[in-house]
Amino acid sequence: MADQDNNSIAFVATEVIPESPPPARETGVVKWLRENLFSSVTNTILTVLALALIYLVLKSTMPWILNGLWTTSSLAECREILDGTTGACFSVLTERWNQLIYGFKYPVEEYWRPNLAFLLMLVAIAPVLFFDLPRKLLIVTALFPFVAFWLIWGGTILAPLIALIGFIVAGAFFQKFGRNNFALGFFGAIVIALAIWSIGGSMIPEGASENALLPAVPSRDLGGFMLNMMLGLTCVSLSVPLGIALALGRQSNMPLIKGICVVFIEFVRGVPLITLLFVASVMLSYFFPPDATVDLFLRVVIMITLFSAAYIAEVVRGGLAALPKGQYEAADSLGLDYPQAMRLIILPQALKISIPGIVNVAVGLFKDTTLVSVISMFDLVGMIRGPILASTEWNGVYWELFGFAAALFFVVCYGISQYSQWLERKLHKGH
């Protein structure tokens, strides 16, 4: 038997065959390329075309960027050094860096103030954006507007202090009375805040800003990307709550409130933003006496805020409409009153649905802040279009400047959109 067995089986492997690597076409980069770029004939053609396109774009831009000059003092000097070869003249960015970021009139020795305000802003918005952070950080957020105002505009500390006191007292009043009677708490708080501000405002001595710790900087001296950031941040953070209030008002059963909200929303949405800006900068100065004008920055903030609030109101209304009626009825059947039902049941769900829309409006609003350049405010685009391109040294530099502006805006807007996607994933409860 044994013999027979030995003879009938020619070969028996006594050890395990060593593992061989998978076929080259089924692994690593090659596999990825095969599956993603060359999976079919159409795909292959598209890939080749795309590569050719990328090559063409890079071929024409890379020499321009790599050959760029950073240290000359005028466009003429750039052209002299380049002597006909391709190359960008980035020197305008280095030479006018401060003007692009801070505008041309913000005092140089005070640049640390907006810088500090910017850092504080990062701390202040962190707890609003990321819910896992300690809630105590919200104190920073609450104080931030007043501190930032004082840092950027300077002058007497009394003004932001009185504003803060007004808010604190009004908030305390609302806490005490708003629980039982919403209307009393709400309107009482507004009256108290207004009273504190007007009394406090009249108590600030005339020349308080003259010898203040931080020298006062008028709004007209603000500019550059700083102005875009300030307008964007202020208007977004003001228009979201206002927009929610308008959306709720539009759904209200009370005809007066509903009417006001509908008329406001439809009016503002029917008017181009640039018209509102012209009204803010030009028309209003006819009505106010020359020395008692409302600050131009404030006028523009009000107009942009009203504009985007109307849009956000419609986005939120969409979210409210998307909620099943059962949610409203469930809230009622639990015996919750209107504020409680909204705060605990309706709005958390409606706002979650509205996030993409709100972010969309916020990104649009941030880019719209460049429109203020047409009413002769020197935001980033205004600085480029006006003073920088009108200087004898830099007249004629376009791609470098507008490319820089585009890059700055892209960074911010892309960041906002990435955040909103993260937020949607985080809030997704999977039902």
């Binding site: 007209r220 047409v374 020197f378 279009r385």
Partner: protein, 338 residues
């Protein structure tokens, strides 16, 4: 509620504005600063430099007025205005004087209720075309696309010129000079038209200025000058004679270099009256005796301002041409100081 408060505030403010119409000269003195409207940026005429200091030919006029009134050429708040906001800024009192290469026209003077106090630059609208187009006269521009700044008199001149010559064109409206340059260089329009000074300045910044020509036709008169609101003649006089002081100074050979010497007294009675060592001209205006001296020292006389900002030694390289003194065959002429 918000709305009613707003309207209430507007009404009160409107009434207050009507009541508080004191003399501009007193306002400026009380404020200690002159609010001067300038352009948001035009090469050679007004633009802030890398340190944020405004400089330029129009800026020089603002500084001269500030020096005459307040004795300090830096006591100026420059308010940048666009072609669309400039007149409302002046009419609403946001600025005291507008020195923003603004053309003196009938309707602006009469209908918009402004007072042009003089002319600091005689300009005219011209055309610039690429040399390769082979055009030698504006009348050959039939069917051309033309880049044109909106909200300016150039728009109207252009329409008039083409209509009276019975040729057609297609306008490409643009907002600022900088934008126009880029559009023109990119080939979005065949022709760029604006004031000849602007064309020369623009061409000077091109990579290859020789590839572009200015056509010989000047299709309009564009006397550019500072202006103030109607109805305050005292203030109008102050601005008018500050400008005239600069012009007269050049005519009489008073420069920022020799002014100290001349202010000590000369044999020329007009120089003495101008510089306040004789007569009471300053007092009549409601200013110091040394007002004109301060105005001239702010940036030099008219000729020095011209040479320093837009003249042939600068990259803009404008010749004096019409803007030479009348004694040299130009139109710059000031009434006498006596």
């Amino acid at each position: 509620m918000k709305k009613s408060v707003l309207f209430g505030a507007l009404t009160v403010a409107g009434l207050a504005a009507g009541a508080a119409a004191a003399g501009t000269l007193d306002d400026v003195k009380a404020r200690g600063k002159l609010n001067c409207g300038v352009t948001t940026g035009l090469v050679g005429f007004a633009a802030p430099d890398a340190n944020g200091e405004w400089e330029g030919f129009d800026v020089g006029v603002c500084r001269a007025v500030a020096a005459a009134v307040l004795g300090d050429p830096s006591a100026v708040e420059f308010v940048p205005t666009t072609g669309k906001t400039r007149f409302t800024a002046l009419a609403s009192g946001e600025i005291d004087v507008l020195a923003r290469n603004t053309t003196w026209t009938f309707s602006r003077d009469v209908d918009l209720k402004f007072t042009f106090v003089g002319v600091n630059y005689y300009d005219g609208q011209g055309f610039m075309v690429p040399k390769e187009l082979g055009v030698s006269s504006a009348k050959e521009l039939d069917g051309a696309t033309v880049c044109i700044q909106t909200g300016t008199t150039t728009e109207l001149n252009l329409a008039d010129f083409f209509r009276s010559n019975n040729i057609s064109y297609e306008p490409v409206p643009i907002e600022t000079n900088a934008e126009a340059q880029q559009q023109y260089l990119a080939g979005a329009c065949d022709v760029y038209t604006t004031d000849a000074s602007g064309l020369a300045a623009t061409r000077a910044t091109f990579e290859d200025p020789a590839a572009h020509v200015l056509l010989p036709e000047i299709i309009s008169k564009e006397p550019l000058g500072p202006l103030v609101r109607h109805g305050d003649d005292n203030w109008g006089d102050v601005v008018r004679w500050s400008l005239n002081a600069l012009i007269t100074a050049e005519e009489l050979g008073v420069t920022s270099a020799n002014i100290e010497e001349m202010a000590a007294g000369t044999n020329n009675p007009e120089v003495n009256r101008l510089l306040g060592t004789e007569g009471t001209l300053g007092e009549m205006l409601g200013l110091d005796a040394g007002w004109a001296k301060a105005a001239i020292m702010a940036g030099g006389n008219y000729g020095e301002l011209f040479e320093g900002n837009i003249g042939e030694s600068t990259p803009i390289g404008l010749a004096r041409g019409l803007n030479a003194q009348w004694t040299n065959g130009g139109l710059i002429y000031s009434p006498p100081f006596r």
